[in-house]
Amino acid sequence: MSVQMPFVEEFDTKSGRRFLNSDASLVLCRDASALFTKLAMESEGFDATLPLAEAMEEAAYVALKLIYLSSEIGGAEERKSIAEEYFRAAGLGRLSLISVGLAGGAAEMSRSSVDDAWMEKWGVSRLPVNHIGRGYIAGAFAAITGQGLGSFAVEEKESIASGNALSRFTVLAAE
C-alpha cells in the first residue's frame, strides 16, 4: 500500500530554524549518524548505544503521532505505510515493517544510510551498527499500535554493515 505522506517543510528565516511537519529538524550528511554510532559503540564504562536508540525511538514516536493525529489516520496499514515513508523521506533508507502487532513483529531494511555510511568509512562491521534504525522501529511500533514509549524491544539480527544483503530486526513486546 502506498500513501502520500503529509510532509510539510517550513523555514523560519528570522531564527534559521527548519521544520518538518512543525517538528524542528536539521539536514546533515549521513556520516554524522555513523560517527555518533561509532562513538556510542566504543564508549568505555557504559552502553551508549541505548541512549542513541532511545533518542530515535522518542523522536520517531513524536513525529509519527503528530502525523497520525493531524491527518486523522487511524488504520494500522496506513499508519505502517506512513512510518515506512517517513523513514525513506528522512534519508534513513528503505524500511519494511513486515508484521506489526501488540506482541511485536518483524522489520527489514533493503537500504540503510547508517550502514552505508559505516561501510564507506570503516568497512564491514563484526557487530550490527544500526541502533538509530532499531530505535526508529521501536518508536514506529509504539505509534502504530497506540502503545507508549518503551513498549517494544528491537534487536538487529542481520545487518547490511556486517555483509548481509538485508538488515533484519525482530520486535518483541517489552516485559
Binding site: R17, C29, F36, A48
Partner: protein, 198 residues
C-alpha cells in the same frame, strides 16, 4: 553582512533535498539525512546522564571530536560541490573567507544554527556568534552547568581547518575551539573562539 547572508541562506535552502525510492538523499555531493532536532538533543542529554561522572569530560571531548571529523570530511565534500559553490557565487580559488561565510550560511539553511562570523584574522583566529544553535535546546530539559555546544565547537574548528590549514586531507586538527558564551547558560548568544593550535 546579514543581508548577504540571508541571500545565501535562501539560495542554499532552495536547492531540493528529496529522497529517492530507496531512501537515499543525494545532494551537495553527499548523502543526506533530515532528522528531528529532538533526536540529537535527546541523544546528547541521555549520553550526559548515562556517562559515569568520572568519564563525562571524556565523552564531551569525544562528541566534539566526532563533530570535528564530520565537519572536516563531510564539510569538504559539501563545500566542493557544484550546488554549494554556485549558490554562494564562488568559483575555484575563491578566498577562504568566502568559503567560511558560505559554510555558516549553510548551517543556517540546514537548520543547525543562526550563526555568523563576528571577527576573523585570516589563518589565525575566528570568532563566531550564534543567536540560536540546536544544542542550546538542552537548557529546556537538562540545564547544563557549563557551555555544552560541543558539536558546534567541533564544526567551527573544522571549518577553519578547511579554510586555512594545509590542503585537504592534511589540515585536520590545526585549529581548536573554545565556547566563551552560551545560550544554554542564559547568554543572549553563543560565542565560539577558534584559534590555531600551537
Amino acid at each position: 553582512m546579514r543581508t548577504e547572508k540571508a541571500k545565501a541562506v535562501e539560495l542554499l535552502r532552495s536547492i531540493p533535498i528529496k529522497a529517492d525510492a530507496d531512501g537515499v538523499v543525494s545532494a551537495f555531493g553527499a548523502s543526506l539525512q533530515i532528522l528531528p532536532v529532538n533526536f540529537w538533543n535527546a541523544f546528547l542529554e541521555k549520553l550526559w546522564k548515562a556517562a559515569p561522572e568520572s568519564g563525562l569530560s571524556g565523552i564531551e571531548s569525544a562528541v566534539e571530536a566526532a563533530a570535528a571529523d564530520y565537519g572536516y570530511h563531510a564539510g569538504h565534500r559539501i563545500m566542493s560541490s557544484s550546488e554549494f559553490l554556485s549558490a554562494i557565487g564562488m568559483r575555484d580559488g575563491a578566498a577562504p573567507e568566502d568559503l567560511l561565510h558560505g559554510a555558516f550560511a549553510l548551517l543556517s539553511a540546514w537548520g543547525w544554527a543562526d550563526a555568523e562570523i563576528a571577527a576573523l584574522t585570516p589563518s589565525a583566529k575566528m570568532v563566531v556568534h550564534a543567536w540560536w544553535y540546536f544544542e542550546a535546546g538542552i537548557r529546556d530539559t537538562f540545564p547544563p552547568a557549563r557551555p555544552a555546544a560541543h558539536i558546534m565547537r567541533g564544526i567551527c574548528r573544522a571549518f577553519m581547518d578547511l579554510a586555512y590549514a594545509k590542503p585537504y586531507p592534511d589540515g585536520f586538527g590545526s585549529f581548536a575551539c573554545r565556547q566563551t558564551r552560551a545560550v544554554e547558560l542564559g547568554d543572549s548568544y553563543g560565542e565560539f573562539v577558534v584559534e590555531a593550535v600551537e
